[in-house]
């Protein structure tokens, strides 16, 4: 029992010496200079899309056709908030003089949503903040045709725009 007590005391004494030594070193430190630092985190934004081409195989009667390609969009940014917008142009027939397919006939849905949004003007479809891992979104596109549309190949452009709000 006495030996145990002595051992405990010795351990305590050792700890005390160690802690005192440590504090002595700390107090012995004298600040002699300092350096002002400005670390600059540069703003960045990366937008990637899985494909840059969409096609619709409109082979049956007029109606709604969903594109064969699903566009996967990934946005990564260190701005405080950011927004992604989509806009489409009219689809122009290959032959001159044939009426365009208006842009609003194109619509899109995000991920597995069944709700398609018309691609009229800039449509806000995605917003993000920092401190958030980028998650890819899947965009499905739909084209609605009518009996008045002339058969043929129509071409157009879907523009995805990105806005930083630093």
């Amino acid at each position: 029992m006495n030996i145990k007590k002595i051992k405990t005391l010795l351990v305590l004494l050792f700890i005390s010496i160690i802690s005192n030594t440590h504090s002595a070193i700390d107090t012995d430190m004298q600040e002699v200079a300092s350096l002002n630092v400005n670390a600059v985190v540069a703003p960045y934004t990366t937008v990637s899309v899985s494909t840059n081409e969409l096609s619709f195989s409109v082979l049956g009667t007029p109606g709604a056709y969903i594109s064969t390609d699903v566009v996967t969009l990934t946005v990564d940014s260190n701005q405080s908030t950011w927004s992604a917008f989509a806009q489409a142009s009219n689809l122009v027939h290959n032959d001159f003089g044939v009426a365009d397919l208006p842009a609003e006939r194109l619509s899109f849905a995000i991920n597995d949503s069944k709700q398609f949004l018309p691609l009229k003007n800039n449509v806000l479809f995605l917003q993000g903040v920092i401190d958030q891992e980028p998650e890819p979104v899947k965009l499905s596109f739909r084209l609605t045709t009518t009996w008045q549309d002339t058969p043929g190949i129509y071409k157009g452009k879907v523009t995805i725009a990105f806005l930083n709000n630093p």
């Binding site: 070193i25 012995d28 350096l35 630092v37 670390a39 260190n78 701005q79 958030q132």
Partner: protein, 284 residues
């Protein structure tokens, strides 16, 4: 008979005069030093420290008086006595006290002689209390026994050399873009260091860097290393004070160039993050 009487009277008179001169010397001949505490100086490396001491002889002090440093020590070790210098009417500029120097010529006729003492420590002189004693060329016993004069006072010397360390950084501030280890963006800072400490270690630590909206780049992402173009050293995180250099007493000299890098994280918000990198010196 009258002649004999005259001769005897004359001899007695001369003897009486001599006795009177000796007697008066024995009683009055002395030197007083002001301040009575001696010379006290406080200084630091490369700084000239000067102090005045007055030697006031009385009118009967007609012998030249010389003083030298009989001892000069710091922390029990001898110090080069020539480091303490003096200048007065009898010296040709400042003269070292490792040999006897005239303080009084014996012709002052009660006029004091002011002596200026000077001590200029180098960076290699250890900090501490330098103690010495100025003693005269004729020791007390000799003056008393042979010349029947008052002993000359000893003059205590105390010079306090303060510890001093200086570090200058070039540049004193920098702006650095965050980057990765694969393609680090590096800022260099040159260190000019001086210390009179016999052994020292230089430590460096960083604060967390903060932006205006309380976002933070933690100090564990601030890295440093000593520049070595041929053999680049590993980066050291400044999350904790890191010892980067150590050495002995040195005058101001370029001791190293440091390289800094701040590691980026993809989720760091764009902007400016401000903070300080601190340098510490510890005795070994």
């Amino acid at each position: 008979m009258t002649r004999l009487l005259k001769r005897v009277t004359s001899k007695i008179f001369r003897l009486l005069c001599t006795w009177l001169v000796l007697f008066s010397s024995q009683v009055f001949s002395k030197v007083v030093v002001f301040p009575v505490t001696g010379l006290n100086l406080t200084t630091y490396p490369d700084n000239v420290s000067q102090g005045l001491v007055s030697f006031l002889p009385d009118a009967s002090e007609t012998t030249p008086v010389y003083y030298q440093l009989s001892s000069f020590k710091v922390n029990g070790s001898d110090v080069d006595k020539s480091k303490l210098k003096l200048k007065n009417y009898y010296t040709n500029g400042f003269s070292s006290l490792d040999r006897y120097r005239a303080m009084l010529s014996g012709k002052e006729k009660s006029n004091s002689v002011v002596t200026m003492f000077e001590f200029k420590p180098t960076w290699y002189d250890v900090p501490g209390v330098y103690s010495g004693l100025l003693t005269a060329n004729i020791n007390a016993n000799e003056r008393i026994n042979s010349y029947k004069l008052e002993p000359l006072p000893e003059v205590p010397i105390q010079v306090i050399v303060s510890p001093k360390t200086s570090l200058s950084l070039n540049p004193a501030q920098f702006s650095i873009a965050t980057s990765s280890f694969n393609t680090p963006i590096i800022r260099e800072v040159a260190l000019s260091f001086a210390s009179n400490k016999p052994r020292w270690s230089l430590y460096i630590s960083a604060e967390n860097l903060n932006n205006s909206s309380d976002k933070q780049v933690a100090n564990d992402r601030v890295y440093v290393r000593i520049k070595d173009s041929l053999n680049p050293k590993p980066w050291v995180s400044l999350a904790r004070p890191a010892e980067i250099l150590s050495g002995q007493a040195t005058p101001p000299s370029d001791i190293a160039t440091l390289e800094f890098m701040v590691n980026s994280k993809r989720l760091d918000k764009a902007g400016n993050y401000l903070g300080r990198i601190k340098f510490f010196v510890a005795n070994k």
